[in-house]
């Protein structure tokens, strides 16, 4: 596996971006993080650069939502294999199932605490970036 470059976040809620950043910085402090506020920008960023190590998507975003982003990624040979994790306010089984069908590795209902974010992201990062994830946490 060639060295990966960055983690791409598609999230329109700045509070959640802050929590995600803090969690990611705790787990892999040296990883570059790029934040886009809607699905269209996420796809644009994917087209601009080498593939990210991981895409973290919110389901409900303006212009193009997370589901559509995943659907587009599935049709693109270079994007199809990029791991995607969905962070959503939804706790609905139907949303989880649909996200997995669209290629998401994990569907995570947005946690109540920073620790919750860290614990939800740790196993994902362990598979995606086996060597860089820091032990412990906040």
């Amino acid at each position: 596996m060639q060295p990966q470059t960055y983690i791409l976040i598609g999230e329109d809620d700045p509070d959640d971006v802050l929590l995600l950043r803090k969690a990611l910085t705790t787990l892999c402090p040296d990883m570059e993080i790029d934040v886009q506020r809607n699905g269209e920008q996420v796809l644009k960023r994917l087209g601009d650069s080498t593939p990210p190590a991981l895409v973290i998507l919110d389901l409900n975003m303006p212009i193009l939502d997370g589901r559509k982003v995943m659907a587009v990624m599935q049709t693109h040979i270079a994007w199809k294999t990029i791991p995607v994790v969905v962070f959503s306010t939804s706790t609905q089984e139907a949303d989880r199932r649909r996200s997995i069908e669209l290629g998401a590795r994990e569907f995570i209902s947005k946690p109540n605490t920073l620790r919750g974010y860290i614990e939800a992201l740790r196993p994902v990062l362990n598979t995606v970036l086996p060597l860089t994830v820091a032990e412990g946490g906040s």
């Binding site: 509070d15 929590l19 803090k22 306010t89 947005k110 946690p111 109540n112 605490t113 920073l114 620790r115 906040s138």
Partner: protein, 374 residues
């Protein structure tokens, strides 16, 4: 002018049937000749059309129609249909003598003589205005109810989001600034957190209450013993913890929404464990009992716990109603509301019986055959 009624309707000796028809009050039952003129009249017709026999005999029956219906030829079409097909039936507005409208169920039957030749029409009209009004009120109520449920569902869903933020950022504050705060100040953060968590669990309860009717599953025939056994095994920790004994009598097999009936028994057993008397090991009995309603089966869940005053036996099913303070016993006050909704969705009821210090008993009745769309 005097109408010669006998010409249109040859006299028959008064008999029992005629007396019967004349005395009926709830239906207008009368005859028309082939041209549509009234040739007999009864008490029911007089009662809700308002005309006496003298006033109406020989008059054309289009007098009972709205002017616009007359203009559209509806009386004529009705007679024509009855003549060709033998019968005409309709639900429509009609007019009383005083001009008032009423919603009528109308049947016109062609009457033939002994040789098969048409001789007139038998007309039966029923005033169903009240029923129509009741039906329309019911439809409105259903729509309002549906709207309310959707509102609660959406509201409790959207209200969760800001709460999650309050929790996440209180947590962040405590994690990052906790060391700079004194014990009292850290206590403030914990108060914010616990109040927010409580709000969250209230919203969750509201959501699950609205889901009973809006997100119900389909009905399957299941052995209730198996359902109760599963619930008891899920609650094993709590049961062992309280050294509780649960006895289950043989229960019937029934068409139910399995996940809801599971929830029903789980709520009732959890309540029995929660409202136990201090120092007394809970004993919970689940029995098959005789149903008041023959179309239902009945099950009683009884315990030896705290019980409640009989005057509260209705109130405890109300939403967010609690008989104990939160310090005494935790709970959202929605569990029994959910139980009641589940029983109602299963075409049944739930009733509570209790006395302070003498335990509580809940009798649930569930329909043997589930009602559709209940």
């Amino acid at each position: 002018m005097v109408h010669d009624v006998t010409a249109a309707n040859p006299p028959t000796p008064p008999n029992l049937y005629q007396k019967l028809v004349e005395s009926i009050h709830d239906y207008a039952i009368y005859m028309l000749d082939l041209s549509g003129r009234v040739s007999s009249w009864n008490a029911g017709a007089q009662r809700f059309k308002g005309f006496t026999e003298d006033e109406i005999l020989g008059e054309h029956f289009s007098r009972f129609y709205l002017p616009e219906d007359v203009a559209n030829g509806r009386p004529f079409k009705a007679l024509q249909t009855a003549r060709v097909e033998g019968r005409f039936e309709d639900y429509a507005w009609r007019v009383r003598k005083n001009g008032e409208r009423f919603w009528a169920h109308v049947v016109i039957d062609l009457i033939r003589d002994e040789h098969g030749a048409p001789m007139g029409f038998a007309k039966i009209t029923r005033d169903i205005t009240e029923r129509r009004e009741a039906e329309s009120r019911l439809l409105t109520l259903r729509a309002v109810n549906q709207e309310l449920q959707e509102f609660v569902h959406v509201a409790s869903h959207d209200l969760r989001e800001p709460l999650r933020k309050v929790l996440a950022f209180s947590d962040l504050l405590e994690t990052e600034a906790g060391a700079k705060l004194d014990a009292e100040q850290r206590g403030y953060i914990r108060t914010i957190t616990s109040a927010t968590e409580r709000m969250q669990s209230l919203l969750d309860s509201l959501l699950s209450l609205t889901k009973v009717s809006s997100h119900g599953g389909s009905f399957e025939t299941r052995d209730l013993n198996q359902i109760v056994t599963d619930v008891i095994s899920d609650l094993e920790l709590a049961i062992n913890d309280r050294q509780a004994t649960i006895t289950v009598a043989p229960l019937p097999t029934l068409a139910i929404d399995p996940s809801q009936i599971r929830q029903l028994f789980q709520n009732l057993i959890e309540n029995a464990l929660k409202y136990s008397r201090p120092g007394v090991a809970p004993v919970v009995r689940i029995d098959s009992v005789k149903a008041d309603d023959p179309s239902c089966i009945a099950i009683q869940v009884s315990d030896n716990g705290l019980g409640f005053a009989p005057e509260h036996s209705d109130r405890i099913f109300g939403i967010f109603q609690r008989l104990h303070t939160r310090d005494e016993i935790a709970g959202s006050g929605v569990g029994l509301s959910i139980c009641r909704k589940i029983c109602e969705r299963h075409g049944g009821t739930i009733r509570a019986h209790g006395n302070p210090g003498q335990g509580a008993a809940f009798t649930l009745q569930l329909a043997k055959t589930p009602a559709i769309n209940s």
